[in-house]
């Protein structure tokens, strides 16, 4: 029989609503809220030995401290398995559940599971490390979700082999697993095409990347007080490629000083990009990064300032999650340097 511990927020833990969201983690051995559903689903497979309840705001505002407090409360119970949530579509709760599950895996060395709705902001923070059961957006289906979590959790704790995400009902963790297929790729893709033509459901083996939709930034006010930076994904770098930016599948970007330049001299630059014929850009880098005309407009007072540095990376066969991080870093750096607007030129 497994020793099972739970993590719940103040609401599901029966303490209160938003007025109790600042509650620090507390421990109970009583069976509260969803713990009853877990107890029913576990039956004789496991026993709930402790439940930690924590306010959503407390956790979200003290993530590191709250995580270690939860660990210290639960560790003495020597648990075999942890369930957090399910959080459904509650964002702060989802973030907490993901963190508590990761802590259980890395610090307590036990399997941990949670459940979330597909748009829960906690999902992407933890899905690579944690099995997260897909749920609806409200707690209506609590008993059914807890049943699925319990079933997968018991098998994890027993060390059984876990199947693919679609079979087991958890969110893909971004792992590739080798397996033998009955049919060749050519046969499988033909089957898929025929299914599509017949209007039947089929599942692609290569899911398309999901792109973010970002709220547009507000418009710039007066250009004469704006600092404009030039950014490119066309792989323009100083001769010698000092940051060793890859020609494809880039993991880095560079910032290059142009403060003293009225134009980009072809003698100073090269292109690290394996996806387009860069002859024309190498002949005149301004065709990619228009320093020459931006400098003129700066002198004429059309724009307040051309930023002192150009930013460059290589946009070719890139991994979306890597580029998302790279983009965030570039944007943070540009903001720190006082840039108010960016023209990003792309090949």
């Amino acid at each position: 029989m497994f020793r099972v511990v739970l993590y719940l927020n103040q609401f599901f833990g029966g303490i209160g609503g938003e007025d109790k969201a600042d509650l620090p983690p507390l421990l109970t051995e009583e069976v509260v809220g969803p713990a009853k559903a877990y107890r029913a689903a576990l039956a004789d497979r496991g026993q709930i030995v402790a439940t930690v309840i924590c306010g959503d705001n407390y956790f979200a505002e003290n993530i590191e401290a709250a995580t270690s407090q939860v660990r210290e409360l639960l560790a003495p119970y020597r648990p075999d398995l942890l369930f957090a949530g399910p959080a459904f579509n509650a964002g702060r709760y989802g973030i907490a559940c993901g963190r508590v599950c990761r802590m259980a895996q890395t610090d307590l060395h036990i399997p941990a599971l949670t459940g979330m709705y597909r748009e829960n902001p906690g999902l992407d923070l933890a899905r690579r490390d944690v099995y997260i059961i897909e749920t609806g957006d409200t707690a209506r289906t609590m008993a059914e979700v807890v049943g699925r979590m319990t079933s997968l959790g018991s098998r994890l704790a027993s060390g059984e082999k876990i199947g693919a995400p679609a079979e087991e009902g958890y969110f893909p963790r971004g792992l590739l697993v080798n397996e033998n297929a009955e049919k060749t790729g050519a046969e499988r893709v033909t089957d898929m095409l025929l299914a599509k033509l017949r209007g039947e459901p089929f599942e692609s083996e290569v899911p398309r990347p999901a792109y973010d939709r970002v709220k547009p930034a507000p418009a710039l006010g007066d250009l004469r007080s704006a600092r404009i930076a030039l950014v490119t994904d066309g792989g323009l770098v100083p001769k010698g490629n000092p940051d060793k930016i890859e020609m494809a599948t880039a993991t880095r970007y560079g910032r290059y000083d142009i403060a003293a330049k009225d134009t980009l001299d072809p003698a100073d630059y090269e292109v690290t990009h394996g996806g387009y014929d860069s002859v024309l850009v190498r002949q005149d880098p301004n065709r990619l990064v228009p320093v020459d005309v931006m400098r003129e407009m700066e002198r004429e007072g059309v724009v307040g300032a051309l930023h002192d540095r150009i930013y460059s990376t290589t946009g070719l066969t890139c991994i979306v999650s890597v580029m998302r991080e790279l983009g965030k870093k570039m944007a943070e750096s540009l903001k720190q340097e006082g840039v108010s607007g960016v023209i990003l030129t792309s090949t």
Partner: protein, 59 residues
């Protein structure tokens, strides 16, 4: 590559010249090419000053 910009979620998009030379046209005389580049950059600056509620491809 405006279609790619649209696919990946850019909000303010200006279709430019060629993939291999977005802000230039090597067939033009140097002065004309620079004037072309200047007009594209002017458009880009005007787009930065334009409020958008969702993705928009300008021209």
């Amino acid at each position: 590559m405006a279609v790619v910009a649209e696919m990946v979620g850019s909000n303010r998009i200006l279709p430019a010249q060629k993939i291999v030379s977005p802000l230039g046209n090597a067939a033009l005389e140097p002065d004309d090419e620079k004037a072309l580049r200047r007009s594209l950059v002017k458009k880009a600056l005007a787009i930065l000053q334009t409020e958008v509620e969702e993705q928009k491809v300008f021209s």
